[in-house]
């Protein structure tokens, strides 16, 4: 065992000290952070521009003050201004655009025009449409001459937000959020894919390097081939985990640093302060269902609370256990197959014919995992989470949505059996393959190696 640790140490240290590793480890989080931070910065900057929109009607005043101002956009009602008068000089007058409402709008939906120099944002259009629709509805209702209409309207107005609640067999109730489950599923299955694929392929390259440089014969006169193979596989897994850990820490650190430097503190505190307020309003809503939440921020905050609760309600123990289990078995399964392929060829270009059958299940697994997030209960998700080659990725995507324990147990059992068989077979191929040179390796040849005696 101490020899495996010597091998692991070498594999780990030589790789971690490589310039390419150091650069990738530092650069990737910087890039990732940029991808996350830059778009939000751009969006923030756009939001700060104040827009003034002139509302013009032809003679009528049906829609006076019908459109409420929204963040960064002010609607100025110009009652007695004709469209022609302002059409060509609204920019000089300081307006972003003109909203022209023709009286026919009550019958003809297209009778509204927004005239501007630039393409207006979709959110703005939606806001105008909603407001006008509401106003027209109101005016149509008014024409029926119903008494106490305003009060009725107030009572009628409702808001619905579906709360997802999971009940297990024993009747325990858990509030969940599909969003959180999806994010979790996405992260875990992607990490799985990444580790299995990238570092599995590195195992293969390492084996090829040892074979082509002929160093392998000296080493296996000191250690058993399986020790060399496992040492390499484990060493690389540790490299992968190290890199991943640094990535996570660095990305968070960079994002936090950039955010606190660029985003005004006030906004964060605002959001925090609105939380208790929101809980109160939630209680009130539960009791009466009459209050309507008009401001946007408390709604976001309550979402935040929900997500937070839902995240806490995830079966973390199970997720972590399954992640470790599937990572170890899945990685060992694929890395050993990669090692076997590396041993069977003389150089990297020869790997092509063997790569497709290996990469296919991994990529298929990732695709199924993605569709699993849309529909976790589908039979496709079920089967791919049971079949060993795709199960590490697909099962990780399913777990946050809840999976019966027997399915996890079956999947794990099959995975264990498969990984033992494959490591064993790979070790046999590896042992023969690393000493074979110049022979064009084919599937048939590899099958023969499997049957050689010690």
């Amino acid at each position: 065992m101490s020899k495996i640790s010597v091998i692991i140490e070498r594999e780990y240290i030589t790789r971690v000290r490589k310039k390419s590793f150091i650069i990738m480890t530092i650069l990737a989080p910087v890039l990732l952070a940029l991808f996350i931070v830059v778009p939000s910065l751009i969006m923030m900057n756009q939001d700060t521009e104040m827009k003034k929109i002139a509302v013009v009607e032809d003679g009528t005043d049906l829609f006076k003050n019908a459109i409420p101002n929204i963040k960064n956009t002010e609607f100025v009602y110009l009652g007695n201004v004709k469209l022609e008068e302002i059409k060509n000089n609204f920019e000089q007058a300081g307006y972003y655009g003109i909203l022209y409402i023709s009286p026919e709008v009550i019958h003809v939906p297209e009778a509204v025009q927004l005239i501007s120099r630039k393409q207006p944002p979709i959110l703005l259009l939606e806001h105008i449409e909603n407001s006008l629709e509401k106003e027209i509805e109101r005016q149509k209702l008014l024409s029926y001459k119903i008494e106490n209409l305003d009060e009725i309207m107030k009572n009628v107005r409702t808001r619905v937000s579906v709360q997802t609640i999971k009940i297990d067999e024993s009747g325990n109730v858990k509030e969940t959020s599909t969003g959180v489950a999806m994010v979790l599923a996405y992260i875990t299955s992607f990490v799985m894919y990444f580790l299995v694929f990238v570092f599995g392929a590195q195992v293969m390259r390492g084996v090829i390097e040892e074979k082509t440089s002929r160093v392998v014969e000296v080493i296996i006169s000191s250690v058993k081939p399986i020790q060399l193979m496992m040492g390499k596989i484990i060493g690389l897994a540790l490299v992968g985990l190290t890199q991943f850990l640094i990535w996570i820490i660095l990305t968070f650190a960079i994002i936090t640093a950039v955010k606190s430097a660029l985003i005004p503190e006030q906004k964060i505190t605002e959001a925090v302060q609105s939380i208790p307020q929101d809980i109160m309003s939630q209680n009130a809503a539960a009791a009466m269902q009459t209050t309507t939440v008009t401001t946007t921020e408390p709604v976001q905050a309550s979402e935040f609370i929900k997500i937070f609760n839902s995240a806490l309600n995830q079966p973390w123990g199970l997720i972590i256990f399954c992640f470790i289990y599937y990572f170890i078995t899945g990685y060992l399964l694929y890395a050993s197959v990669f090692a076997a392929v590396g041993s069977a060829v003389d150089n990297e270009t020869e790997t092509q014919q063997f790569m497709l059958p290996i990469t296919l299940p991994v990529i298929l697994g990732l695709f199924v995992a993605m569709s699993t997030m849309q529909n976790p209960e589908s039979s496709m998700a079920f089967w791919f989470s049971i079949i060993p080659f795709t199960s590490p990725i697909v099962m990780m995507a399913r777990i946050p949505f809840g999976v019966p324990l027997w399915e996890i147990a079956l999947s794990m059992f099959l995975m264990a059996v498969t990984f033992i068989i494959f490591v064993w077979m790979s070790a046999k191929i590896y042992r023969t393959g690393i000493l074979m040179y110049g022979k064009k390796s084919s599937w048939k040849e590899i099958w023969k190696w499997l049957t050689y005696k010690g």
């Binding site: 002929r214 000296v218 000191s222 010690g454």
Partner: protein, 307 residues
């Protein structure tokens, strides 16, 4: 005393029989030559001794008992196809191989310092292997092979890639290691170095042992009916019906002739005939070179001398 013995070892790869009932026994503290044409099965035998592969049948004994897994600590192996990690530094790499042979870091450092100094390699410690020449890398590999002070050192073509100066340095180190108590199994095609270094040899062809024994005994046995005779003075030796002159050499007021007997007659009869030509100061069977023996054995395929 026999340190290593292989008994009736066979190994088959697919349809090829790489080793066919092969037996060798290597005396302790000797240099044992493993000879044979390409593809004869030498590397297979060496790999079996190193437990890289196992034999299909047969026994391997180290110091009289069966070869065990942990005997690899007692064996040092320099493969024919040399290999080092190209991107790794020389010192680190030597240390790594030493640790794989079970030596502690501190002990390995001590021994490496000794060997690097002895072979004038100290400056290379922090160089990457890819910066070294082929011969330099070979020297590094030689050191890693013997560093753990193995009882049995297996060297597969140790001299290829060396210039004459370095080759003779390595030869001296091999002799030094033997004198220090190690046994060396030497596989080579360089017959001159076999004559120079080896005490015993086995010649393998088609996985079978064709010839085995002490080098000088084999050469004497293969001398057959050829003799080398030295006379005083510059003379001419006449041929007769009993023998044929192959070669005459006049030097330092001495004449050496190589004769080949044509009939099955005793050496005394030949001597008495030769005495007529002059004053004989030396009479020896003419030893064939290992090179000749090698070629004749391999060509004859049956291991019997070709006359």
């Amino acid at each position: 005393m026999i340190i290593f013995e292989a008994r009736n070892v066979s190994k088959q790869y697919g349809s090829t029989l790489a080793l066919n009932n092969l037996s060798i026994s290597v005396p302790k503290q000797s240099i044992y030559g493993l000879l044979g044409p390409n593809g004869a099965g030498k590397t297979t035998l060496i790999r079996i001794i190193n437990q890289i592969t196992g034999p299909d049948s047969g026994e391997l004994l180290l110091e009289g008992r069966k070869l065990r897994q942990d005997d690899i600590y007692e064996i040092g192996y320099l493969p024919e196809e040399r290999g080092l990690y190209k991107k790794m530094k020389v010192g680190e790499q030597a240390l790594y191989f030493a640790r794989l042979k079970g030596i502690s870091k501190a002990e390995a450092m001590k021994r490496l310092r000794y060997w690097f100094k002895k072979l004038e390699m100290t400056d290379w410690w922090n160089k990457k292997v890819e910066e070294l020449s082929k011969g330099m890398a070979q020297k590094v590999q030689f050191v890693t092979t013997v560093l753990h002070e193995p009882k049995l050192i297996i060297l597969d073509e140790p001299f290829t890639g060396f210039d004459p100066v370095n080759a003779s340095i390595i030869k001296n180190e091999i002799l030094f290691l033997r004198d220090r108590g190690a046994t060396i199994l030497l596989s080579t095609h360089d017959m001159a170095s076999v004559e120079e270094l080896c005490d015993n040899i086995t010649l393998i062809d088609h996985g079978m042992s064709m010839l085995e024994g002490k080098v000088d005994e084999i050469r004497r046995a293969w001398a057959g009916n050829e003799y080398s005779v030295t006379f005083e003075g510059n003379i001419r030796v006449p041929e007769n019906g009993n023998f044929q002159i192959l070669h005459t050499d006049n030097e330092d007021n001495k004449t050496t002739v190589k004769i080949k007997c044509l009939k099955d007659i005793s050496t005394n009869e030949i001597l008495s005939e030769l005495m007529k030509s002059g004053n004989i100061i030396a009479f020896n069977p003419a030893l064939p070179s290992m090179n000749d023996i090698f070629i004749r054995v391999v060509k004859s395929k049956n291991g019997m001398p070709v006359n």
